[in-house]
């Protein structure tokens, strides 16, 4: 229950982390696939090292498919998927699953909604029965909607409003995007959480939850044939319907720096800098990840060495980028030390960025980044759970899980020139949004 206070620089992570680099030396995991008649795709990766199964269902619907007024609906809907269908009524899903040794969770991003089941292999058929019931026959109990509204509001308070990173990050996205639907928070604006209706929910279900919009990944102590047979029995009869309408809005090119400031009570300030970068399946994905590794990965990375170790102006510095269907953001975050103006961290970050633009990174740095990706790959696939998430993420964001196997080749192909080129192309002043949180404490003076 305790921890020390040294802050850990966030792992650069994400999709990139799921990829391995040295193709020849990396392990392969055989995946069996089947597409049901209704368009739902099933991927199975058998592994009997523990008597358990991880089952992930990815729906290609997230907050990017929402509209002003109902922001956060995808995530709220995700909650409702646990609140009762025809055979398994309100509360039954969790009770039955847990009584059979299983557990579940789900997550929503700007792009996808993902349902996760973890269970002993003995519960395999039951899980299919449960999943089919809620995909086909979800019910909308007005009382459940009201109580779940309170749950989501509490979640928003704890994960966004109660966290400086949450508050600042939300405003950063809202400022960096002015046209595209990535601009609002996944959890939704509080006033939207308070106002969405039963009709909104029903519409969302019809829009996003066609089997043809879903990909199921099953990893663990199963045989592909038994999974396919269960899928045919339980899922195939569910009719397909129209997929969500395409998101056609394209964010106009940013043509000048944007800045925003948040004043709130806080112990320490916070800094976030966002650059627009392409969507996940863009070829620059690999070079950008190598660049991020060199800048942010580990205590030997350039940014850590500069801001945390040498200048000692920050507690930590890191970067994030999510898996995305549309052009997204590369976000740099830094926690300035007490008494350090965020601008000082900002300046140091820009100087380091300038350095990668001006001259090539070293051979040693390039190799280090590739080694990191190889080790990170094994960290991702060493559990049945991590593997299910990885395979599904590749299938959904690259359009084919096989891309996992090309990644080795793609990372090996990244050159020092590529790293320099993507730094020059994407990390420019006109392409950035800078968000700063400044503590405003009673008695300590206000700005």
């Amino acid at each position: 229950m305790k921890k020390s206070w040294k802050r850990i620089a966030p792992l650069a992570g994400l999709l990139a982390a799921l990829v391995w680099v040295c193709g020849a030396s990396a392990q392969e995991y055989p995946v069996a696939t089947k597409t049901l008649k209704n368009g739902m795709k099933i991927l199975v990766q058998p592994d009997s090292s523990i008597p358990n199964v991880a089952l992930y269902t990815f729906y290609k619907i997230g907050s990017r498919n929402e509209r002003p007024g109902t922001t956060g609906l995808s995530h709220f809907f995700e909650h409702m998927m646990f609140n009762g269908a025809k055979k398994y009524g309100p509360g039954d899903l969790d009770k039955v699953m847990e009584a059979n040794g299983g557990s579940n969770n789900a997550y929503t991003t700007r792009n996808v909604t993902v349902y996760q089941d973890w269970f002993p292999r003995s519960a395999l058929e039951l899980i299919f029965d449960i999943e089919a019931d809620r995909i086909e026959n979800l019910s909308f109990d007005p009382k459940k909607i009201e109580s779940e509204r309170g749950v989501v509001a509490s979640e928003r308070r704890t994960s966004v409003d109660g966290e400086n990173e949450g508050v600042l990050g939300e405003q950063l996205w809202a400022t960096a995007f002015m046209a595209h639907t990535y601009q609002w928070p996944v959890v939704g604006w509080m006033s939207d959480i308070e106002h969405w209706t039963m009709a909104d929910l029903k519409h969302h279900f019809e829009m996003g939850y066609s089997p043809s919009n879903a990909t199921m990944v099953v990893v663990g102590d199963v045989k592909p044939e038994e999974v396919f047979a269960l899928a045919e029995k339980y899922l195939e009869p569910i009719p397909a319907h129209a997929p969500p309408p395409p998101v056609t809005t394209v964010e106009p090119e940013q043509i000048g720096e944007r800045r925003l400031v948040v004043h709130k009570p806080a112990e320490l300030p916070l800094l976030m800098i966002a650059y627009h970068v392409p969507q996940t399946d863009n070829p620059d994905f690999y070079a950008l990840n190598v660049l991020r590794s060199i800048l942010f990965q580990g205590e030997s990375s350039r940014m850590y060495q500069r801001l945390v170790d040498k200048d000692q102006i920050a507690l930590d510095v890191g970067s994030e980028s999510d898996s995305a269907f549309d052009p997204t953001l590369l976000i740099i975050d830094a926690q300035p030390k007490e008494g350090v103006e965020p601008e000082k961290c900002e300046k140091a970050i820009y100087e380091e960025i300038q350095r990668v633009k001006n001259s090539q990174v070293t051979d040693q740095e390039l190799e280090k980044a590739k080694n990191f990706r190889l080790a990170e790959f094994y960290r991702q696939v060493r559990t049945i759970n991590g593997r299910a998430n990885t395979i599904g993420t590749y299938e959904v964001f690259f359009g084919n899980y096989q891309k996992l196997f090309d990644a080795a080749k793609n990372y090996s192909a990244v050159t020092k020139d590529d790293v320099q080129r993507v730094a020059q192309k994407y990390l420019g002043a006109n392409n950035r949004t800078v968000a700063t949180l400044l503590p405003e404490n009673e008695g300590k003076g206000k700005p």
């Binding site: 305790k2 020390s4 994400l14 646990f82 969770n105 994960s159 996205w173 030997s300 080790a375 009673e442």
Partner: protein, 506 residues
């Protein structure tokens, strides 16, 4: 530490931080398996492996066993545990130095933790930067930190880099130099780290809870130190701490992963055989029994829109004979999604994103707590409800059906907690430290099955106190102060920005 934008079904996800998808919203936050050193709070499965081990089980007997492993004691006294696992080409090292934060001198909390943090910050042959460069270059990692009972260090690398990886671990553990520059740097970061943590109520509520519960003694002292105590930590004390406790006879080294045991033994002897040191003094700690009466600490966070609250008492120790039965009951009561607490506070009333309870056993009795959070206006309603659920546990007990479900859940959820080399190395190291045997895993299902409704009833009476309760709340005192007066006659208050957590009555 920046998982801020996740949105889940419930608080703690089982994803071992894989794709750290930014802006992910989850249904809940059930803590499955996380890095050992992480703070897994939310739904209070906080105990991680500890709990899982004691509590887990199988629907139909899953029959999981701990893989075979070997123990060797080197002539210099170092205990080495080796477990082969070839599923991925990686090696994990999990070490324990048998002295943790409980031996920090009074007023110098954070000494053990700072000593651990400095291991990689410069050795006789490597600067901090060189160490980082070398471990990063092989895609590996190394970390060390102190808990209450012991200090742990760990590393992970690809098996092709075993020689380099072991060399780095040995160098950090055997030859740290604690240069003044690095000492100053780390201490300054740690002080700011405390302040940054205080910006998030959920990151610090258990520091206050444990501080108040143990009145600033024993497990009530902050393992990472606080703003005042860290300023008293000096290089000389660090060196003394290191020399006294970091000795081969006082250390357990568990290695699991892709290697051949006989070859690894030789390598370990080569690398660690030359380590010397005097016998370390035995760690003594005065154990605190459960607290009598009702007491309440209100930590004022002026901008809070939600109140975070923990309610409980001193719980059980790692070797408590009741441990399995307590975990079975706690599964029903507060450590899964359909637990009594989560059903009442979240599912049925929508008052919160999550409510849970946990036991955090240590060598001596560790804390027991019920935990949740709710908006300022519903603070009273939520705490009242929590206490009602506790009362219901006593009056109605646990039904046969609930008991069967909990057993099945514990068994079914257990295998993924001993799936990886890193998890296994951690498990065998802790078993060695606490004097547990493999039966903790191998006999687990049997022990779970042995818990009857009668035993459950006894556990409730004995380990889930109804009248002797310690309350700790972090929230906006101006709004919630008046309504929480009713919970305890003895009331204390503190500003969150004031240095420290709860140091106890002087």
């Amino acid at each position: 530490m920046r998982d801020s934008l996740e949105v889940l079904k419930h608080g703690v996800n089982q994803i071992p931080h894989p794709a750290k998808d930014v802006d992910r919203e989850m249904r809940s936050g059930q803590a499955g398996i996380r890095d050992e050193n992480r703070f897994a709070l939310m739904l209070g499965v906080a105990l991680l492996l500890g709990v899982a081990l004691m509590s887990g089980g199988v629907a139909q007997a899953q029959g999981v066993k701990l893989p075979p492993h070997e123990k060797v004691v080197l002539p210099n006294g170092l205990t080495v545990l080796l477990l082969e696992k070839h599923s991925v080409p990686m090696v994990n090292v999990s070490g324990i130095v048998k002295a943790g934060a409980v031996v920090d001198p009074a007023g110098m909390e954070g000494l053990a933790s700072t000593t651990a943090g400095l291991l990689r910050k410069g050795t006789k042959t490597r600067t901090a930067q060189q160490f980082s460069e070398e471990i990063d270059f092989i895609g590996g990692n190394f970390g060390a930190d102190a808990g209450s009972d012991y200090t742990s260090f760990g590393a992970e690398f690809l098996s092709k880099d075993t020689a380099k990886g072991l060399d780095l671990v040995a160098d950090a553990v055997m030859h740290p130099t604690f240069s003044q520059g690095e000492v100053d740097k780390l201490l300054a970061q740690s002080v700011d780290g405390v302040k940054a943590a205080k910006d998030s109520a959920r990151d610090v509520i258990f520091e206050y809870y444990e501080g108040y519960l143990y009145d600033g003694k024993g497990y009530g002292r902050p393992t990472g130190g606080d703003e005042s105590s860290l300023k008293k930590v000096q290089r000389a004390a660090i060196v003394k701490f290191y020399e006294m406790y970091y000795t081969p006879g006082n250390t357990i080294l568990a290695i699991a992963g892709d290697f051949k045991t006989e070859e690894m033994k030789k390598k370990i002897e080569e690398v660690f055989g030359g380590w010397t040191g005097k016998a370390a003094p035995a760690v003594k700690m005065e154990a605190l029994g459960s607290r009598k009466g009702k007491r309440l600490l209100l930590v004022d966070k002026g901008d809070a829109t939600q109140t975070y609250f923990a309610v409980g008492n001193v719980g059980i120790s790692v070797m408590d004979p009741d441990r399995t039965a307590v975990q079975v009951v706690n599964t029903v009561f507060g450590s899964r999604f359909t637990s009594m607490l989560n059903e009442a506070l979240r599912v049925e009333s929508g008052l919160t994103y999550g409510a849970s309870s946990f036991f955090s056993p240590e060598k001596e009795p560790g804390p027991f707590a019920m935990f949740s959070f709710t908006r300022n206006e519903t603070t009273e309603k939520a705490i009242d409800l929590m206490l009602e659920v506790l009362k219901k546990l006593h009056t109605e007990g646990v039904s046969a059906e609930e008991l069967a479900s909990a057993k099945s859940y514990m068994k079914g959820q257990f295998p993924p907690s001993i799936e990886t080399s890193g998890q296994l190395a951690g498990v065998i190291a802790r078993f060695e430290f606490y004097g547990q045997t493999d039966d903790e895993v191998n006999e687990r299902e049997k022990r779970i099955d042995a818990v009857t409704p009668e035993i459950a009833k006894l556990m409730i009476a004995k380990h889930f106190p109804l009248d002797d309760l310690t309350f700790v709340l972090v929230g906006k005192a101006a709004e919630i102060g008046p309504v929480v007066k009713k919970y305890a006659e003895k009331q204390d208050a503190k500003e969150i920005a004031a240095p420290g957590f709860w140091e106890g009555r002087k």
